[in-house]
């Protein structure tokens, strides 16, 4: 054994390679943590509140007398609980999070600071107009940035997330069709096979039926096939651009023209707007409506699955149908239009289709996004888009030697690979992804888009340095070589270093356990 002067072994070759189980189940910095229901005290609390006066209740006899069953944790227990849980999560602040279509870019902390200013965070949504001019100014200013960046004349700010923005756009289309008496006949929506699942789900939620537009062999909308499908029953199309294969729809103008000629509208899914923001105005491409994911393109934090924010820009044809509420400005003074009754006589929102949410949308995301935009400026937003596209193409170029790209040519902000390079290795896309976890990376998007077999969609974003990308590419190249060298068993076992090994999702769905129940009640069941 090689020792140093203090008798400490300096080489690991004498140490057993398999992990010895610990008494606690902890692994050094990875500490196991039970549920709050197991940690906490059902009579305890972690807040010090004053003693009530004990006045008689005026609840009309509807007092809650039953036990709720909520544990309370002291403040140190609470802190430890959540800090331990946090250490079981991967995050963009730790390393590359190359989820294609999800745009995991750096979340500047300035934006968090701004959002927490009392004038924004501690402001009631029904504050009288004179006392919330600054908040209305934020909404108006952000709306101006979004309209200018997209080249569109109007924006609905209230949608709560991307899918909600899609709903907003499709509702505006439906309202426009109703206004000209076409709603009963135009009931079909066309969307590519490669579309996000939200597109068909949204169309159906609006009462439309959905048909799939086939892709051509370059991974783009098959223009000839689309033209065949268009007709007097088509309400519109929903197309993502750049699309979910990471490619720009070269025929975008021809697609828009064909749809318009057929009397339909063009809804553009703006999930990938980050690739072209500051470079291209979607309004110049014939778009009628497009949602913008503030939590992707403009970097409001994803927060483990929300909150999102999905303002939706609208063309002049759709603007009158925009939802309430919206902000108007006159001589530097801002007002809110909150009901259809109060709508203006013409222009944006004059024939509003109604309301999508209580209050005014995701204000906390508006302040963060505006802070992001002002920080970047028009020049920085364009540079971010260029760097995002450059990074994706660099990853594609570097990985091409061992992995198989789904389509030839340059990509936009994300690089799409298929699983041909894993053929006959016994390793599948999911195994490859899980092996990345052991290497310290969050996997890329797997098995999406559906049009590519075993898809692996890598979106590095502009936030990665060249050094970080080189390490990432080296790791993936080594994994690809290992897979081809016949190491399938190791891939099937991965991950082995994560807080949990692979989880049984089938069992979870077959016999759903969706809440904690007291052990006694469990035995009685």
């Amino acid at each position: 054994m090689t020792m140093n002067a203090q008798g400490r072994p300096t080489r690991s070759d004498d140490v057993a390679t398999s992990e010895a189980p610990t008494f606690t189940g902890n692994k050094a910095l990875q500490i196991e943590e039970d549920l709050i229901f197991e940690v906490g005290d059902f009579n305890g609390t972690g807040v010090d509140l004053p003693e009530p006066e004990g006045a008689p209740s005026r609840l009309g006899g509807m007092e809650r007398t039953s036990v709720i069953g909520l544990p309370g944790l002291s403040e140190p227990e609470t802190m430890r609980h959540y800090v331990r849980l946090s250490q079981k999560n991967y995050a963009i602040d730790m390393g590359p999070f190359p989820l294609g279509s999800c745009t995991m870019k750096h979340n500047p902390r300035l934006n968090e600071k701004v959002a927490r200013m009392p004038g924004f965070a501690d402001l009631h949504p029904l504050t009288p107009e004179a006392q919330c001019q600054g908040a209305l100014e934020v909404i108006d200013a952000l709306g101006h940035w979004l309209k200018e960046l997209t080249g569109m004349p109007a924006v609905a700010m209230s949608p709560k997330a991307g899918a909600h923005g899609e709903l907003c756009g499709m509702m505006a289309i439906k309202a426009a069709l109703e206004a000209c008496g076409d709603a009963a006949t135009r009931t079909r929506v066309l969307a590519p096979e490669s579309a996000h699942g939200t597109n068909p789900a949204t169309a159906v939620q609006c009462g439309f039926t959905v048909d799939e537009i086939p892709a051509d062999k370059t991974g783009r909308v098959d223009l000839a096939a689309l033209k065949e499908m268009l007709g007097p029953d088509v309400a519109g199309i929903m197309v993502t651009n750049p699309n979910t294969c990471g490619l720009f729809e070269r025929d975008i103008r021809a697609i828009a023209d064909a749809v318009h000629e057929a009397g339909g509208y063009f809804y553009c899914d703006g999930a990938n707007f980050n690739a072209i923001a500051g470079k291209v105005k979607p309004g110049d491409l014939g778009v009628d409506a497009m949602h913008i994911n503030l939590h992707k393109t403009f970097s409001t934090p994803h927060g483990g699955g929300g909150p999102g924010s999905g303002p939706t820009v609208l063309s002049a044809a759709l603007a009158p149908f925009a939802p309430v509420p919206y902000v108007t400005e006159e001589n530097g003074s801002f007002s809110l239009v909150e009901t259809r009754r109060a709508a203006k006589e013409e222009g944006e929102g004059a024939r509003s289709f109604g309301r999508m949410t209580a209050f005014h949308g995701q204000m906390g995301m508006f302040t963060r996004a505006l802070s992001y935009m002002m920080s970047h400026g028009a020049d920085g937003i364009a540079q971010a888009a260029e760097d995002a596209v450059l990074n994706a193409n660099y990853v594609q170029a570097r990985l091409k030697s061992e992995m198989t790209t789904a389509f030839d040519g340059y990509c936009m902000h994300e690089a799409l690979f298929d699983d041909r390079f894993l053929k006959d290795t016994g390793v599948e896309t999911i195994d490859f992804a899980k092996a990345m976890i052991d290497e310290g990376y969050h996997p890329m998007t797997m098995y999406f888009p559906l049009v590519v077999h075993g898809a692996m969609l890598i979106e590095p974003t502009e936030s990665e340095s060249k050094r970080e990308l080189d390490q990432f590419c080296d790791a993936l190249l080594s994994l690809a070589k290992r897979a081809k060298s016949g190491d399938a068993g190791a891939f099937k076992a991965a991950p082995v270093h994560a807080p949990r090994r692979r989880l049984d999702e089938t069992a979870a769905a077959r016999k759903p356990v969706l809440r904690w129940t007291p052990p006694v009640a469990e035995a009685a069941e």
Partner: protein, 446 residues
């Protein structure tokens, strides 16, 4: 630009590896006439400049902590323990994505499971999902769910339902040309909604405490709905009331939707908030939104995953129960962390303190000549009938630094009979001095 790590040398080197002469070559698929458009927008700005500009906007707003404050109607000013904001700013929570890779997302998944457990217990229901965008969109989703369950196309909305919730629900149901019956505003909480329920009815939507603050007995409505084969959807906009008022589940509701903002989340001018959604087990597969479930890993250790996703858009596409994709992840964390601190003991006491603050406020304001407290019962919010237009009174008091409440005319512009109504909320944040100031200024204003 401080957020972009690449320098020009990197960019040149990377382009040479790619084999492209310039970045614009990578954009070759974009129609040339559309590329490199002109934007009438300023260039980048340092931290100081951005902070200065946004501080100036923030300073034009009167925040709830700036003086006596009595606004409610679906958004409430509560104290948030400092621990909560620290927890939600942990990088591993703030900057994580949806937990699609459960092996490295157990932190998010476990708190979602804990959240679901807390929400189900609060609502008195069997199952809860991992959250909706907010209470109002949750309400619309519940109505759509009732439509799927009953295969009927008529919804009846109480006059005590927050009018913006009613508007959201109507907007969603009208897409399918459903009947939406909205009862007129009902400040006294005495409406006869039962008589509106018939064999065509898919759901009855009743808020409790209602938008005027009345505490309602849902049991007779539940029985009447069930008799006709309709679902009762109970809406709660003030989650603290769960600590004082009998749960909707105990009163026979089939679906409970609530706004969770009050627990752990700031007012934030209306969002982001967190929608609570709970129901009975038999409707599980018709539920919208994400669900987190318990399972084990290959070593037999307990772990959590997103489950029953065959209801959801990313699997079922046009057959999904909803188009919802995002939930309110970080807001659910704020909710569940605050609720963990409170515990049942803390929640009940917090609810009592809220109720007492409202009782004291009502007594002080109701004693003013010409001012009438409309409610027979209330939790932390009640309605006053003033001798004149409440919107003018609110404006006058706001100019003197008192945010007095929500005037009826703001919420029901179509119902002039509500224009003298003022809806007043009082939480644990209200002090005796706040109440005295409010009463004195109101007396002067009338």
């Amino acid at each position: 630009m401080r957020y972009l790590p690449l320098n020009d040398a990197d960019r040149r080197q990377m382009l040479s590896v790619i084999g492209a002469a310039s970045v614009d070559e990578l954009f070759a698929d974009v129609p040339a006439e559309a590329l490199n458009a002109d934007f009438d927008l300023p260039d980048h700005l340092g931290e100081l400049g951005v902070e200065r500009a946004l501080s100036a906007m923030a300073a034009k707003n009167r925040d709830a902590g700036a003086g006596p404050f009595f606004l409610g109607c679906g958004a409430y000013k509560h104290h948030i323990p400092a621990t909560v904001d620290h927890i939600i700013q942990r990088s591993e929570f703030l900057t994580a994505y949806t937990p699609y890779q459960p092996e490295i997302a157990q932190g998010t998944l476990q708190y979602l499971f804990e959240f679901q457990s807390q929400v189900a217990a609060l609502a008195g229901m069997e199952v809860a999902n991992a959250s909706m965008y907010d209470g109002s969109t949750g309400c619309a989703e519940a109505a759509l769910m009732a439509r799927r369950v009953t295969k009927r196309r008529k919804a009846i909305l109480s006059g005590g339902l927050h009018p913006q919730y009613a508007a959201v629900t109507r907007t969603n149901l009208e897409l399918h040309e459903d009947d939406v019956v909205i009862a007129p505003p009902d400040p006294a909480g005495a409406e006869d909604i039962v008589s509106l329920i018939d064999e065509e009815t898919s759901c009855v939507i009743v808020q409790n405490p209602d938008v005027f603050g009345n505490v309602r007995d849902l049991e007779p409505i539940a029985s009447a709905a069930h008799e006709k084969g309709a679902l009762l959807i109970a809406v709660v906009t003030e989650a603290v009331s769960f600590g004082a008022v009998k749960s909707p589940g105990e009163m026979g509701a089939d679906v409970v939707v609530a706004e969770g903002q009050s627990i752990g989340n700031p007012l934030g001018f209306g969002g982001p908030y967190v929608g609570l959604f709970a129901t009975r087990k038999k409707y599980l597969r018709q539920m919208p939104g994400r669900l987190c479930g318990e399972t084990t890993d290959v070593e037999g250790k307990r772990g959590f995953v997103l489950t029953l996703s065959t209801r959801e858009q990313h699997i079922r596409r046009d057959k999904a129960t909803s188009n919802i994709c995002t939930n309110s992840g970080l807001c659910t964390l704020a909710f569940t962390a605050h609720m963990s601190l409170l515990g049942e003991t803390g929640l009940r006491r917090l609810a009592t303190l809220n109720h007492e603050a409202a009782c004291n406020t009502a007594d002080a304001l109701g004693a003013i000549d010409g001012v009438e407290v409309v409610n027979q019962s209330y939790f932390n919010e009640f309605t006053l009938r003033l001798p004149s237009n409440a919107e003018n009174v609110v404006k006058a008091l706001a100019d003197q630094g008192v945010l007095a409440g929500v005037p009826g005319g703001r919420l029901w512009p179509d119902h002039p009979d509500t224009e003298n109504l003022l809806i007043v909320a009082a939480t644990e944040c209200v002090t005796d001095e706040d109440i005295e100031t409010f009463a004195a200024k109101l007396r002067e204003a009338l």
